[in-house]
Symmetry: C2
Subunit: 463 residues, 2 copies
């Protein structure tokens, strides 16, 4: 009964909730670019004010980087911590956006209404589904469904440099019975998914310097070493013909998939043709002997995320450049050790660089993969609640993305984490024209209301 009232309230409040999200999306909180530091700060202020508006004791907490937002509200029953991030990815290439990335709007599309703008899906829209569920519950019952700690980060898209120190310093304050994380998606845009396997991430930047200045390739071409030649030779050898990564020891700690999980995934009947077809591709590019679903969920990768060197403007310039650099990242699984891998990668590069060239590395954060325990009763409760809201029954799934926070909660706060989210495969997170389906936003809020109702004792203590 009381759940129905809250769900009805959510339906009625949707337009107002959407307006609030658009307001947050207008703040260009790009965490990786120092030029936007003050915008990250504004986003944090906005969230503090919004939480306070529903009686939550919230504050902006300084870090050496962008601030955290922490809020507490008391309640009966279990103590949950909700995590989301308010920072967003850069927007370039800007020319590929159909609208200004930070001038969000509701657009009609053949597949229904979408909220278009940077951060709509990753992660502001998802974060707000939980906040709006709490707002509706509070409006109906005058209290929160249970004891809740709100924990919002502003550095998720830039390696979370301040996260672990902050969690260590505030462990007592942050510890709860269970963490709830909303930064993932539906399986195949359709099936609600609770993530139980998350890939880790390791980022490296390589810069190779050959001559100490740009040279004329007519005058020096031949005897002078070209750093782009060195860099492409090295990166061109990162994968072999079968898609295997060639860094020594790369596959140490990469487990085979347990038979029952392999079975379960097979049952999900993943359509890799449609998945790749959506982005103009056809053939899985990973290890030759693996299924596409394994390539995303349970196999490690090496990707060159960016490369630059020499003249890249209009026309042509016969320059023999001084420098060339690349950004490389690795998605990790199982027990792969990011620190050992960074060293192994650096050594693998080092031995391939001619003595003439200078080599510099820049570390860009690292996190191991995590395997989530589903023992906490909330997982079963949530699975039922999600199955009530969505057409398909909820699945226990893997996630190709890296959400290190889940592992950190376990490591530093000894707290299990439940990851659910409402993103769709075509949300274009990290790409131009990012969007979040209005349905994801609406049913996401309703889903949180159901989950909270399922794990909380209810306003009158009974459940």
């Amino acid at each position: 009964m009381s759940l129905d009232t809250v769900l009805a309230r959510i339906d009625a409040e949707l337009p107002a909730a959407t307006e609030r999200l658009l307001e947050l999306l207008r703040i260009p909180s790009i965490s990786t670019d120092p030029a936007y530091a003050d915008k990250c700060d504004s986003a944090a202020d906005w969230l503090v004010a919004d939480l306070a508006s529903m009686g939550i004791d919230a504050s902006k907490r300084p870090t050496p980087g962008h601030p955290m937002v922490v809020g507490h509200v008391d309640g009966a029953g279990p103590h949950v911590l909700f995590y989301g991030h308010y920072d967003v990815q850069p927007v370039d290439p800007l020319e590929l956006w159909d609208r200004e990335p930070f001038d969000p709007a509701i657009e009609d599309t053949p597949n229904g209404k979408v909220i278009r703008g940077r951060g709509a899906a990753d992660d502001k829209g998802q974060l707000m589904t939980f906040v709006e569920a709490c707002r509706a519950y509070h409006a109906v019952h005058g209290v929160m469904p249970c004891k809740i700690t709100f924990f919002f980060e502003g550095e998720e898209e830039s390696g979370s440099p301040s996260l672990i120190p902050f969690m260590k310093e505030n462990a007592e304050e942050l510890k709860a019975d269970l963490a709830l994380i909303c930064d993932t998606g539906l399986f195949q845009s359709r099936t609600p998914a609770i993530m139980t396997m998350l890939r880790g991430l390791l980022g490296e930047e390589i810069t190779i310097t050959g001559p100490d200045k740009d040279l004329h390739s007519g005058m020096y071409g031949g005897p002078a070493m070209n750093p782009i030649r060195v860099l492409t030779k090295i990166l061109g050898g990162l994968h072999d013909e079968t898609g295997r990564v060639q860094v020594p020891g790369f596959y140490d700690g990469v487990p085979e998939l347990p038979a029952e999980i392999a079975e379960q995934w097979k049952a999900l009947d993943f359509d890799h043709g449609a998945f790749l077809g959506d982005v103009g591709l056809a053939n899985p590019a990973g290890e030759a002997d693996r299924s596409a679903l394994e390539m995303i969920w349970s196999r490690p990768t090496a990707e060159i995320n960016g490369i630059i060197g020499g003249y890249t403007g209009e026309g042509f310039k016969t320059v023999l450049p001084s420098k060339a650099s690349a950004k490389v990242s690795f998605r990790l699984v199982g027990q792969q050790d990011p620190h050992a891998l960074r060293e192994s990668f650096r050594e693998w590069v080092r031995v391939q660089v001619p003595e003439d060239c200078k080599l510099e590395f820049k570390a860009h954060g690292n996190s191991p993969a995590s395997q989530i325990s589903t023992d906490h009763p909330a997982f079963e409760a949530a699975r039922k609640a999600l199955t009530d809201e969505w057409p398909d029954p909820a699945a226990l799934a893997g996630c190709g993305g890296s959400i290190p926070i889940a592992g950190y909660f376990k490591t530093y706060l000894d707290m299990d984490a439940m990851l659910v989210g409402w993103g769709k495969d075509d949300d274009q997170m990290h790409s131009p024209n990012e969007k979040y389906d209005l349905e994801s936003f609406h049913k996401g809020i309703r889903s949180w209301a159901r989950i909270l109702d399922a794990i909380a004792p209810g306003p009158d203590g009974e459940n």
Copy 2:
């Protein structure tokens, strides 16, 4: 006698001549960037006015690209055509310049005074050495030393698309007994050199498209093909471990050096340690079994002049990009056929691109190598004249750069060309902080006066 008067006039006029050059250097005539088209036009106007000021019948001649400047003046004796180019290279990376590239100035350096600014050495400063020599001769004698056609191009740094059509359409007007070209340098910054061997140039741009939009490497990393991976794999295979270029048929038409030229070059005693040491390198990077001088003068090369793909800004972005592209150029020698090589290179790339990826090529101009005949008596006369002006005797040398105009004069106007110039190895042509030694400018003007005096009958007809 009359030569000494002209040389004295040149010495006295040097400050005024330098002021004129600085004026020309202030015009940012970057031909490869369409944004500077009007500046190229202004540079052409400036030259027309300057030639007219010494009684030369000069005009700006339209082309589909940047205009040509053509001037005629009558005189006794042989008819020479002088060629130079008024366009310059782009200036990026701008942050590496110690002064605004188009705000030139005379600077004192440990090695003497230099004219600092884009185009000082390549080719405005060199072009003006000839013009100033004519101006001085005209001032002293009231006539020019011989019949002269001035021919200035504005597209040399962007592949000279309009040059051949213009030469064909105006062959009668442009044909002379001998072409003089000032776009080369001294050998080892010291020895006046007449170039007899010039490398050709072939430019290609490759763009590889994988997914039809930028993707999130967490969501697609593994199954989705990354175009940077494809591009680096291909370009990483451009050279083998011994520095040999791997494009099929690349070495077809590459001749072995004739014994007597090999001898002569050995006698020049090229110091490759100093040559590479000047730019922070030590080991010749070309074919393992070739001398550094061969690598520059008589061996072909493949260089990656630029590469770009994915996220290259501050920080890190785990993007799996849609596109990656590179600019590649080849220096050609002997009978290497640029057209055949372009096709062979494209096919070599094509077969390495997975069917999933789109591949686009963009041609960026091509010119064969040229071998200059030194039969014309002017060559011997010039060698003596240069030996009189400079401390070391003049050498017949090769040139690693590509000055296709020499070959074009032969092919389209059946005219031999003599290439001499006063650039030094440390002029940083095509690089930040380009400069031209004031000594190069001064002795260059004097050298032209001597050459003209040697090949012309003199004002009173005797020689």
